[in-house]
Amino acid sequence: MRNYFNDLPKSALGASYWIFAVYLVLPLALMTAMSFKDANFIAFPIGNWTLSWYSKVVQDKQFLEASLYSIGIALATTVSATIIGVWIALLVSAENIWGKAVIFALACLPAVVPGLINAISMRIFIRAVDIPTGTFAIILAHTVHAVPFVVIMVLTRLRSMPANLVDAARDLGADPFIAFLRVTIPYLMPALFGGMIFCVLTSIDDFVRTFFLGGYQPTLPMLIFAKVQGGMSPEINAMATIVLVVTTAIGLYAEHFTRRSRS
């Protein structure tokens, strides 16, 4: 097959991709390099290299606990945001529902409210309804933030779903709930998968909501912020590098997995 468009601009497009990739990766590579610096503050040149920051971080119980805690919150957020998000998307996509546009707009609201404002208003709110600060409140706030993204992704996918699929399942003896589990959910999977990755990443990265709604257990960003307060040391770079390596490994594994199952 001849590919007309690619002849001339292909190399330009390729260059733009690689320049962009370098733009994204280079600063993080520097960040990683800095984690090997044998000094209390980070700056170039690196001078003496050391692995001691890593051994320190790996043995740091607080870091481990904070990481596990962050992951736990992220997973819980993912589950609840996915359930609520799918639920809202189904409502918005259902026929004969009055005010769908309004519901959709309101469902997207938390995505466009700045984090700080979101956090403070949530804090006032949970006090008004008497929910204690802590894990549950954090999950609630993270979920509120993640729901719009799930709604948008799921809705986009739902709109491309052949209407007949659910009818076919119903016709073959499935009640609406079974048809939903057996047909709609599998059809939504790519959108759900994307939404879940998004939920996990925003939740793990969130600082401001966690600070306002959290209890005494620090999440990873809270720990890093608290450490930064005492000065930017290579220890923080080491932590960031570990997080990055782990998430990259998971991402590559997921990609490998989907690729293998496709072939």
């Binding site: 729901v147 923080i236 991402g251």
Partner: protein, 326 residues
């Protein structure tokens, strides 16, 4: 009635796929049929189940906190203090319009967000196009992943990594000095350049994904057809690819714009002395040493309404149908 004289399956018993999954068993279990099964059979109950949870959720957690905010923005004093009145007033909103001290950063924020949005679009579009249309389908995931991974590092870390790159003793300056291009470091950090560099660095993802998914959906034969009809690369882009990726452009721009309007940490860490933008003003009102929550809440409401209206108008003018992220 079925013709059963056909040959029995030639596959061995071990190859028999396992049918009769859990769903079938669940559906036929008495417990299910008496609980959910009965519930979903009634149209009215089904509608209530479908609408109930989402509506309660949205009312409680999407609108509730904003209403609290709106309420506070109308109070003369908050948090309540014994010696001060807590009447309702519009003074907090009036303050915004009466003092250019607040108005100016607001306008600056909107302009900044617009510039960042357009720059991001221009930078990311060819990249998204490359991944969606030039890269072989089997390598697409990988190409996309390379661009996604940096976004998993967290906002703070990414911001700091920009500092490491652009500082006077950052990688770039050290390198330039090493090769003898410069004698004195070029001050790149704490400028408009470093700020845009950092904010685009933080937000490019929100542009990349919608663009990618929109461009990927354009049928490749359509582009070839345009070429066949004699359209040059520029014409093909302007008359075929661009209009067909409009949806992605609209969603990408909306997302980047809304996030850029509200971006807070990056200007604080990367911007110079003139980079004061509106979220910082709001944050100062909340975090500052005076109790200015009502003003902060009022300004937040203004920011919310204006940025949402802007995006709404943008969508109407450009004509994107819906926001989509992937």
């Amino acid at each position: 009635m079925l013709d059963t004289t056909t040959q029995p399956p030639s596959v061995g018993l071990s190859m028999v796929p396992h049918y009769a999954g859990w769903i079938g068993r669940t559906a036929r279990s008495g417990l299910y049929r008496h609980t959910i099964g009965l519930l979903v059979e009634s149209r009215r109950v089904r509608l209530a189940v479908l609408a109930g949870v989402p509506l309660v959720w949205i009312a409680m957690l999407h609108i509730g906190p904003i209403l609290q905010m709106a309420n506070i923005s109308l109070l003369a004093n908050y948090p309540p203090q014994p010696d001060k009145s807590s009447e309702y007033t519009l003074a907090n909103y009036a303050l915004f319009f009466s003092d250019r001290l607040y108005f100016l950063p607001f306008v600056r924020s909107l302009i900044f967000a617009a510039v960042v949005t357009i720059s991001t679009l221009v930078i990311v579009y060819p990249v998204a196009y490359y991944v969606a249309k030039v890269v072989q389908p089997k390598n697409r995931m990988r190409a996309l992943l390379l661009l996604l991974i940096p976004f998993w590092a967290g906002e703070l870390i990414r911001t700091f990594s920009v500092i490491m790159l652009l500082a006077n003793r950052g990688a770039l300056n050290v390198l330039l000095r090493e090769f003898g291009f410069i004698d004195r470091p070029i001050p790149m950090l704490y400028t408009f350049f470093s700020l845009s560099f950092g904010v685009i660095y933080l937000l490019a993802l929100y542009m990349l994904l919608p663009l990618y998914s929109a461009i990927e959906k354009i049928p490749t034969p359509l582009i070839h057809a345009a070429a066949d009809l004699g359209a040059g690369p520029l014409q093909r882009f302007r008359r075929v690819i661009l209009p067909l990726s409009k949806d992605g452009i609209v969603s990408g721009c909306s997302l980047v714009y809304l996030t850029a309007v509200g971006v807070f940490a990056a200007p604080l860490l990367l911007g110079g002395p003139n980079a004061v933008i509106f979220p910082e003003v709001i944050a100062t009102l909340f975090h500052g040493s005076n109790d200015k929550w009502p003003e902060g809440a009022a300004f937040s409401m203004i920011m919310l309404v204006v940025s949402l209206t802007t995006v709404g108008l943008f969508m109407r003018v450009v004509g994107g149908r819906s926001v989509r992220l992937m």
